[in-house]
Amino acid sequence: MRARPLPHASASPAPPGPARRLGALWRKTSLRHARNQPWQTLALVAILGLGVGGFLSIQMANRAAVTGFEGFTDAVTGRSTVTVEKAVGAFSAGELGRIRDTVGLRPAEVVPLVEGEAATAGTDPGRPLRLLGVDLVGIQNAPVADSSADLLPPPGEEPGLWSILRDRRSAWVAPEVARREGLSPGETWTIRARGEEHALTVRGVLPPGEGGVSVPPNLVVLDLAAARSLLDRGGVDRVEILVDPELPDAEALRRILAEELAGVGGGAWQVLLPGQQQAAGAQMTAAFRLNLLILSLIALLVGLYLIALGMDAAVVKRRREIGILRSLGLTAGEIRKLWALDIAALALAGTAAGLVLGSLGSQLVVRAVARTVNTLYLETTAASAQLQAGDVAMALLLGLGGGLLAAWLPLRDAASTPPAQVLSAGRFRPGLGLLRRPGLGLVLVVFGLAVLWLPPVPLPAGSRFPVAGYAAAFAWLIGGTLLVAGIVRPVARALAGRRSLPPALRHGFQRLRAASSRHRLAVAGLFVATGMALSMGIMVGSFESTVVRWLNVRFQADVYLSAPDAGGQPGVPFATVEWLEAQPEVRAVLPSARFPVPLEGRTVLLAGARYPDLLEEEEFLWIEEPLPLSAQPADADSFAVVNETFRYRFGKGQGDRVTLTTPAGPRTLWIRAVKADYGNDRGLLETDLRALRSWFDIPFYTNAVIHTEPGAPIPLETWRARETGLQFLRQGELRATALRIFGETFTIAQAIQVLGLGVAFAGLALALLTIIREDAASLRTLRCLGLDERRIAKVLATEGAGLAAVAVLGGLVLSLALAALLIFVINRQSFGWTLLYRLPATEMALQAVAIVATGALVGWLCARSTRARDRPSSPDS
């Protein structure tokens, strides 16, 4: 017999392949764990699902809000064109050429327009008409579905269409004008413009508008050249770029064109995209949405914490098994592979659960606000609450990627630690080592404070990016997490040292004093989640009180007179204001004119208002109270009241001087006061109306507010009937509309807040459940030592409440800091506004107490459920 060397490890003749061996091992270990402890496995999957689902539903709810607002603004303005306007003066032929060159061969048509006022002359003279000059030949090629398209003459059957279009006397009138003047095609009609009478030939009646866009009732369309000579204009007032709305990427093309045109025009052109001229408050809702987005990004972090929590639990639960397997000869690599399988399976199940939870959650959120949302936001909301492919990808990334990442650290430790150490319980401390570094947390918090002095970074589009704010938020969030996680043990140690405490409480703290990595993760996740939810509450509260106060200041007059955004008069005629002032019901009419002007390479809104009447009639939110006019320096041409944004943007406040370039030469304004104004984030420079009119050739007012005699009925219908191209609104209606828009946003924000709190509650409950369940042996020992259910319940309730209390206290501090950051740094740097800082203290206190109570309740329930499952028995069993 030949001597055969003794096999080294395994005597089996044909060992199975490594893959099959791993597979078999996985079935015998992991799968059996899952089957034998379905409850724990379910809890793990639920934690993962909650992480993914919480993030997804907040994401979707936020998207519903955002698309809702976009739909809303489109519906309000009805514009589908890019509009180029000039701050001062008309477009020259050269400028028009530059616009055409910029648009080039792309599927968009350049339509220059001239707009102006005229009046009827014949039997009913003096009625205002709005003249619009369009290049009628050019517009024939335009791919239009815009309000301007409705101005086209009906396709002519006669051969001489071109000659008609080119006829300087051809006019097309609105149905309203035709009816009132008794006009039919072919008739001759006389109008007055610039003090002269002109005879026109009516070629047709304009078709009524489509899709809710109505033809202004006093509109008269002429050929561009005819209108220019009638109105005595050297250039064109406005250029509209029509993009075929049927194009699949029409929206993108509009955006690109707008950007390019803004670049070509420098500060001199004002380029407006559809929906950019907004109803009051749209600016502010944009700011609010930005803040919401920032807060909901934090939800991502909460999700990651929850996932890390689940993974850590999975690893720690079986670290003994890792030690045993390694002592049986498995390599660290093989263990890692085994676990990768495990984690992938867990993460997949969790992600699937998260997708279900996420869509359920967002449906709930959307349904909660559905009734009001649908009237306001049209159908967009429902569609955006659907799961999209991107969401699924995001969920997979978060669940699988986050899961692997979160499990990697504890796993790497467990797999590479010598088996003896793993097996000798306690000494081996797995889990995220990072969470044991409160010192680093402190450094991060201080870093966040230091970084606050950084100025915002200017962006090419003219806005500014508050780097400091975001960097500080991030540093505080992470630093706070480390601090809070690190503080659990010392706090619990201090409390456990109090020998006078009731024994159940004291032992609860003793358990917490040895907080495991999962305790720390649970605290970290809860800290971030409560910080997010509570700062959301502060944000909503601050915005709400600011908005209400501001709207009350903004809409003090009884009637608000303006030109409608789409159609109608281009502005409020001087004559209208004079006529209104003569009415017996009217106490004061305060007109104002405003238009963008370039200043130091940026654009600001220059306004003229009727001082000092304005200061007498209305109240303001002063940041800096007006100085007396006597303080005005001799070299200043006039004074100005600026808004807060202006002060931040240009660094100029009370007493400083600003020099403007005007057609009448340079003019110096002395800044007299600074007021809060949340409707404008570019900067407002408001001066005396008379001064403004003497420097600029202003054709009409932008708007006017009317204060009526107290108690006098307001003959709004009479005024409306006389001034058909204008819009008269009662202040109450305006304020109600604005408040309603904000109300919807707040509802969604509150829904997100509820969701965030829900995630916090559920995450806490699940975390505590797994922590306590894994420690069943200790509970059995306590029973053997004679603790009855009530006492054990007290111990666990203390543990849960203590855990929650540390996290919630940290979360409170975080929410105060984050909200202050949003209000005083981020909003101020990106919009130039300071909101009122309002603490919904009672609400916050209630939420904090509720979370701590949840911790106690979960501990209590755990004690009860473990009793139901394990009858009192020896710790051996």
Binding site: R427, R780, T781, R783, L785, G786, R791, S874
Partner: protein
């Protein structure tokens, strides 16, 4: 002490107790009587039901038939919290695997049952220090269980069980996990502490030499006594 002469007031009496873990019977009609301060050793092959019997005697497991009287009170007639109260005040456990609470130091492990028994802080401190000295662990009192050796853990577990000065100590293979020298040491301690406090002992063991500290040895197989007649059978 004469074990065969029944004293008028037995500490613990078991009468015909049976127990099964479906479908297998574990204890079959066992009877037992234990006087105050008496020490009893239980021996028998693995799986014969020794641990189960111990758990039943301590009230952490219920019996299917028969009854267990502790100081004349039927354990089955007490509710769970009354049985817990009994364990807080009169019955101590020592386990083969120690079962110290991992988050507490050695000192705190001993102190815990005293706290729940409502002993005053000052007296707790005294008793704990005495016990630490008695088991020779004063110098390691601040260590947590994971930092202690097996023998050290068992000494702490012993001190914990005796802290409440129980009338009855139930010990399940208290030396099973220890080397001979440590085992001897723990055993001597056990005898000494029981004697000084007048505590009765029921000790499960596989090592015949450990029965030297006991007054009586009972042998079990398949949930029944073998050899000598059970002392409760008159």
């Amino acid at each position: 002490m004469d074990a065969s002469s029944p004293s008028p007031t037995p500490l613990l009496v078991a009468e015909g107790i049976s127990k099964h873990y479906d479908p297998q019977p574990v204890l079959r009609g066992l009877s037992l009587r234990l006087d105050p301060g008496e020490r009893l050793a239980l021996m028998g092959p693995s799986g014969s039901g020794k641990s189960t019997l111990l758990h039943c005697l301590g009230g952490i497991e219920t019996v299917d038939e028969g009854r267990i009287l502790f100081r004349g009170e039927d354990l089955a007639a007490l509710d769970e919290s009354a049985r817990a109260a009994l364990r807080r005040s009169a019955i101590g456990f020592v386990f083969q695997f120690f079962h110290l609470l991992p988050t507490l130091s050695a000192r705190e492990n001993i102190e815990l049952p005293l706290e729940f028994a409502g002993v005053s802080s000052r007296e707790r401190r005294e008793r704990v220090e005495d016990l630490l000295a008695a088991v020779g662990m004063t110098h390691r009192a601040a260590g947590t269980p994971s930092e202690l050796s097996g023998g050290e853990c068992q000494r702490i577990a012993l001190a914990r069980a005796l802290a409440i000065r129980p009338r009855l100590l139930l010990a399940d293979e208290p030396t099973g996990n220890l080397d001979t020298a440590s085992g001897e040491r723990v055993l001597d301690l056990l005898a000494e502490l029981c004697t000084s406090a007048g505590t009765a002992l029921v000790m499960v063991t596989h090592q015949p030499e450990t029965t030297r500290i006991c007054d009586r040895v009972l042998h079990m197989r398949d949930g029944q006594w073998i050899g000598e007649p059970t002392p409760a059978e008159e």
